[in-house]
């Protein structure tokens, strides 16, 4: 609370909250530095598994878990790991948690594990996770790294969900498996096929470009 009261710009509760350093670590990943739309990181799983909203959500949560655990471990070991071998150590840490996640998902839901396939294992090479370990967790305290991981993770979930939702609604006429269009709706099958992934992400990026340009023009 002391951080909240220190700020005397008088922008009200939310203004203060957004300006306090620790909440900022969390909020920046959600919107301002969103991994999918702003940083364009971790594209492989983003495009590959988002043919339905459910797959996107599951992939996002799995990635968030790995990101959180690896950020915690990396930041608590940041004074122990020698600088020369840090990337290799980070990758080993990440690979360990990904293996755990992979087996956990196989135990929880065989269908989901089949739908996501090798892409769960491929979380290891998601640039987002290694990027956060190197750019943030290796320099900050455990608490801050946790907030950073949660923010970035949820930002990633938002990105995957918004891609998955658009693709499922247009390509399958449903969301989370529930039909949203009358039966006469002709599905755009292309949207759930690979090209649809590229097109949907391009559309979202154009939307964000448009917003940025509008803001700059004001």
């Amino acid at each position: 609370m002391s951080q909240l009261t220190k700020d005397k710009t008088g922008e009200g509760f939310w203004g203060n909250l957004a300006n306090s350093p620790s909440t900022n670590e969390f909020l920046k990943g959600l919107w301002k530095e969103n991994p999918v739309f702003v940083q364009v990181l971790g594209m492989c799983p983003t495009l590959a598994v988002t043919n339905t909203a459910m797959n996107g959500l599951a992939m996002g949560l799995a990635t968030t878990f790995v990101l959180l655990m690896s950020n915690i471990l990396v930041s608590s070991l940041r004074n122990v790991i020698p600088k020369q071998v840090r990337i290799a150590s980070y990758i080993l840490i990440i690979a360990t948690f990904v293996t755990m996640t992979d087996y956990a998902i196989q135990a929880i839901s065989v269908d989901l594990s089949k739908a996501l396939g090798a892409f769960i294992s491929l979380i290891v090479v998601n640039c987002l996770i290694l990027g956060r370990a190197e750019a943030f967790a290796s320099k900050n305290t455990v608490g801050k790294s946790m907030l950073d991981a949660l923010g970035m993770g949820f930002g990633f979930v938002i990105g995957l969900l918004s891609l998955g939702a658009v693709r499922e609604i247009l390509g399958n006429g449903s969301i989370f498996g529930i039909p949203v269009f009358p039966a006469s709706f002709q599905e755009w099958v292309i949207m759930i096929l690979p090209p649809g992934g590229f097109f949907t992400l391009a559309m979202w990026l154009m939307f964000f470009n448009h917003r940025k340009q509008k803001k700059a023009a004001l």
Binding site: C44, L92, A95, D102, S121, V125, C127, P194, P195, F198
Partner: protein, 194 residues
């Protein structure tokens, strides 16, 4: 053991199920180094080389892990082998051609985190390919990756002289082109399934 013929595996990996345009593997270098034709071809060659080496290593490792009943170490051991191979290639290129080393920049060490290579190792294990099949699969995947990268670089070099609307400048435009290329590659579906 999988009984697919070598030729079918090659066509499948390079065209029908192109790693970049159908599996979305290796999108980061695909978006990052596809600006110039020359860098694109060399990047493609480097990735193909790493793919072949790590595919052979992954085949041996898998046999070893099965024999000592430690299959849960698969992911960790694969990634270590890939990281070591990339380090080797990096040292080699730095020595042989410093200019190329600078041109590839950060994307050279990032081959380690190129999903296409780990993806290849995992897919070949899942499909149960033998040694010869694995090598051909890696070669096909590498050539497919290079093909996609070179096509994209050619298109982007031309686009530098085109007038594009401000709205699509940057990554959005590259993704739109990738989508159209991916549509074109869907035309290969059915090839080889006699």
């Amino acid at each position: 053991m999988n009984q697919e013929s070598l030729f079918a595996i090659f066509i499948n990996a390079s065209l029908i199920n192109n790693f970049v345009l159908a599996y979305f593997l290796g999108i980061c270098p695909f978006l990052g180094v596809s600006g110039k034709m020359e860098t694109a071809t060399k990047m493609g060659a480097a990735v193909t080389f790493v793919m072949i080496i790590s595919s052979v290593c992954a085949y041996g490792l898998h046999a070893l892990l099965v024999s000592i009943d430690a299959i849960y170490l698969q992911l960790i051991s694969y990634i270590v082998v890939i990281a070591a191979t990339v380090q080797l290639v990096e040292m080699f290129i730095k020595k042989m051609s410093p200019a190329l080393f600078r041109a590839l920049g950060i994307f050279l060490p990032l081959i380690t985190t190129n999903c296409a290579i780990l993806g290849l190792a995992l897919f070949q294990t899942n499909k149960g390919y033998g040694l010869a099949q694995s090598v051909v699969y890696a070669l096909g995947a590498g050539i497919g990756f290079t093909l996609a990268l070179v096509l994209m670089a050619g298109l982007r070099e031309k686009l530098n002289f085109a007038e594009t609307p401000n709205l699509v400048k940057g990554t959005a435009l590259t993704l739109l082109i990738a989508g159209i290329l991916s549509l074109a590659f869907m035309g290969f579906a059915g090839l080889g399934s006699n």
